[in-house]
């Protein structure tokens, strides 16, 4: 019961939705929509589990006075504070305080974290440029050529630009195709393993 019913559900929904792709009729389309709704609606209910997990982890940390427990207080207070500001009588998603918090806390931090990528790409480039093998030298040369495209290199600018564009258009396309064909096969194989019950570790054991 604990193992068999979930496996049957996986098989039934897996097979039905795989077949549905080939069947354009109205009942088939409605079934597809219900399945997509199902994924969304279950996601909403799962949010309760997510919030519960956050509270549980935070509360345990605070209760045990674990290292850095004070920051769990900040997280929980800001979470409930933000959710409270999003309530109906506070104006919902368009409430003034909700928008202020979003625009003046969320957005600046988001932009700052995103901009960290500039520093990280610099340090990653530094590491990439210490080519350790022939293969990484190939990567380095390709990366350098593309970077040189934005530098004023006088008479070399045109050829560098053309080689860079060609690399983005041609070898890039070939490699992407090879990867995508592999990904297509791999995802079908994974889906098949799930539907046939060959992979079942996600369904628990007891």
């Amino acid at each position: 019961m604990k193992q068999q019913i979930p496996l049957v559900l996986v098989f039934v929904f897996g097979v039905l939705l795989a077949i549905q792709y080939f069947v354009p009729s109205e009942p088939s389309q409605r079934f597809y929509e219900v399945a997509l709704d199902g994924l969304t609606v279950i996601g909403i209910f799962a949010m309760v589990l997510g919030i519960w997990s956050q509270i549980h982890v935070g509360y345990n940390k605070i209760k045990r006075r674990a290292e850095d427990w004070q920051y769990s207080v900040v997280t929980l207070v800001s979470m409930f504070g933000m959710a409270f500001c999003g309530l109906s009588f506070m104006g919902g998603l368009n409430g003034p305080i909700f928008r202020q918090l979003y625009n003046n806390i969320f957005i600046p931090i988001q932009a700052a974290i995103f901009s960290l990528l500039a520093f990280y790409i610099a340090s990653a480039s530094y590491r990439a440029f210490r080519a350790r093998s022939a293969v990484s030298t190939v990567l380095l040369v390709a990366a350098l050529l593309l970077m040189l495209r934005v530098i004023p290199t006088g008479p070399l600018a045109d050829p560098i630009n053309q080689i860079g564009s060609w690399m983005l258009m041609v070898p890039n396309m070939a490699a992407k195709r090879a990867i995508l064909i592999g990904v297509g096969l791999g995802s079908v194989a994974t889906a098949l393993k799930i539907v046939l019950g060959i992979e079942r570790s996600y369904l628990g054991k007891d």
């Binding site: 792709y21 080939f22 354009p24 009729s25 109205e26 389309q29 409605r30 994924l39 996601g43 799962a46 949010m47 589990l49 997510g50 919030i51 997990s53 956050q54 549980h56 982890v57 345990n60 931090i109 988001q110 974290i113 995103f114 960290l116 500039a118 520093f119 990280y120 790409i121 610099a122 340090s123 990653a124 480039s125 530094y126 590491r127 990439a128 990567l139 934005v150 530098i151 004023p152 490699a175 990867i179 592999g182 990904v183 096969l185 791999g186 995802s187 079908v188 194989a189 994974t190 889906a191 098949l192 393993k193 060959i198 992979e199 570790s201 996600y202 369904l203 628990g204 054991k205 007891d206």
Partner: protein, 413 residues
């Protein structure tokens, strides 16, 4: 570090200089004004209506022969307007305009909604009548009417025959290789450095007394890359339990967290140590990309995991995570099917599983015959593709005829 800063400043100055050198693009010339004809164009002829193929029963295809003034004659046709009604005797005002196509087009697919309350509802199994007008500048032609036609359901989409053939071939190959594997025939798989490193990395974590961080990416449970990552997580959890070390699995989606909890729990149970599993080791952070990254980065620097495993769907956060892992001195193994993120993992991580390798990882770790069977089936399909590519291109070079371009797009079957 000073090299990094120097390099970064160089890049920054280059970027700024490039921005200064940028020139504004010239604006497009204004379009020529259309000529205004004094007479309406000739109407289209031979209007036909039929049920739209491969649909859910709420579509009609309308076809016609072009107006003599479309691209010829007075060249006065700009577009065609298509109208629909339930009763051919309705006055003009009751005919509903359902679409417009530009000159030169001879067909229109009238796809309606399924809900009767919807504005563009198209009823099923009901007689429908259509009118087509050729439209000139401010004038339209005399009417060309056709009908009735009824929209009906189709139970197989004939455009999807290639996918069906592919699925059947794949299924047959998989079943065949699974049977072979069950009979004990040895199925060879070549070594994959990224996978072999997982065992080594777990051993390292045990020696160092540090945890293993496993990140399933920012995808939802609806992403097949996340599902593939679950299959690897189960096996990693099992090894972690066997080695008696600990693991941290922060999640970006509550459903992913729930499935990950079950998966890790199963891994611990498989290793015979169900009591060692801690529910809080698999936890939800938040569903947004950058807050998730901020929290995981903090965890990496605070916990200093011996090994970071990033497998699943990743976007811009790939580099943020991997570079922080480098700062923390962790061994890093990554894998994703996102082609745009692979370069960052390749540069920053010790081992990277490229695309399909992510999907093969569970078979490698498990070494179970059933899983190796699917891997073999994948390889056979690749071999079929390679042989077809060479054979068909050779055929084209010999015959000179373009018989194979876009072979899957037209319904040649």
């Amino acid at each position: 570090m000073k090299y990094i800063i120097l390099l970064f400043l160089t890049c920054l100055s280059l970027c700024l200089s490039q921005a200064l050198l940028a020139q504004t693009a010239s604006s497009d010339p204004p379009a020529e004004a259309a000529l205004v004809p004094s007479e309406p164009p000739a109407p289209p002829s031979n209007v036909r209506v039929s049920d739209l193929a491969n649909d859910d029963g709420h579509g009609i295809r309308v076809t016609w022969d072009l107006s003599p003034d479309d691209g010829a004659g007075r060249s006065s046709v700009i577009s065609y307007d298509i109208y629909r009604t339930l009763n051919p005797n309705d006055p003009d005002s009751l005919w509903k305009k359902v679409g417009t196509v530009v000159l030169g087009v001879r067909t229109y697919a009238d796809r309606g909604e399924r809900e009767p309350g919807s504005g563009s509802y198209l009823p099923k199994h009901t007689n429908l009548y259509y009118r087509v007008y050729a439209v000139g500048a401010g004038v339209r032609s005399a009417v060309a009417t056709a009908g009735p036609a009824q929209a009906t359901d189709d139970w197989f989409n004939t455009m999807k025959v290639p996918e069906l053939i592919f699925c059947l071939v794949f299924l047959v190959l998989t079943v065949r290789f699974i049977n072979m594997a069950k009979k004990g025939i040895d199925l060879y798989v070549r070594p994959l450095a990224g996978i072999e490193a997982i065992d080594e990395a777990i051993g390292r974590a045990t020696e160092m007394g540090k945890p293993i961080l496993y990140v399933l990416g920012i995808g939802t449970a609806g992403d097949i890359a996340t599902i593939a990552s679950f299959t690897v997580l189960g096996r990693v959890a099992r090894k972690v339990a066997e080695y008696q070390t600990s693991m941290i699995v922060p999640c970006c989606d509550p459903v992913v967290m729930t499935i990950a909890q079950e998966t890790v729990k199963t891994g611990y149970a498989d290793a015979g140590r169900p009591d060692a599993y801690k529910e809080d080791s698999v936890y939800y952070v938040t569903s947004q990309q950058f807050p998730f990254v901020a929290a995981v980065n903090g965890t990496i620097l605070r916990e200093k995991p011996a090994t970071n495993i990033y497998l699943g769907y990743f976007a811009a956060e790939s580099l943020l995570l991997a570079e922080t892992g480098v700062l923390a001195g962790s061994i890093q193994i990554a894998g994703t099917d996102q082609v745009s993120q692979l370069p960052f993992f390749v540069v920053a991580c010790d081992y990277t599983l490229l695309g399909e390798e992510l999907y093969a990882a569970s078979a490698y770790l498990g070494r179970e015959p059933l899983l190796l069977g699917t891997l073999k089936a994948q390889d056979y399909l690749k071999a079929i593709v390679l042989v077809c590519m060479v054979a068909l291109l050779a055929l084209r070079m010999i015959t000179g005829a373009d018989v194979i371009s876009k072979p899957f797009d037209a319904p040649w079957w």
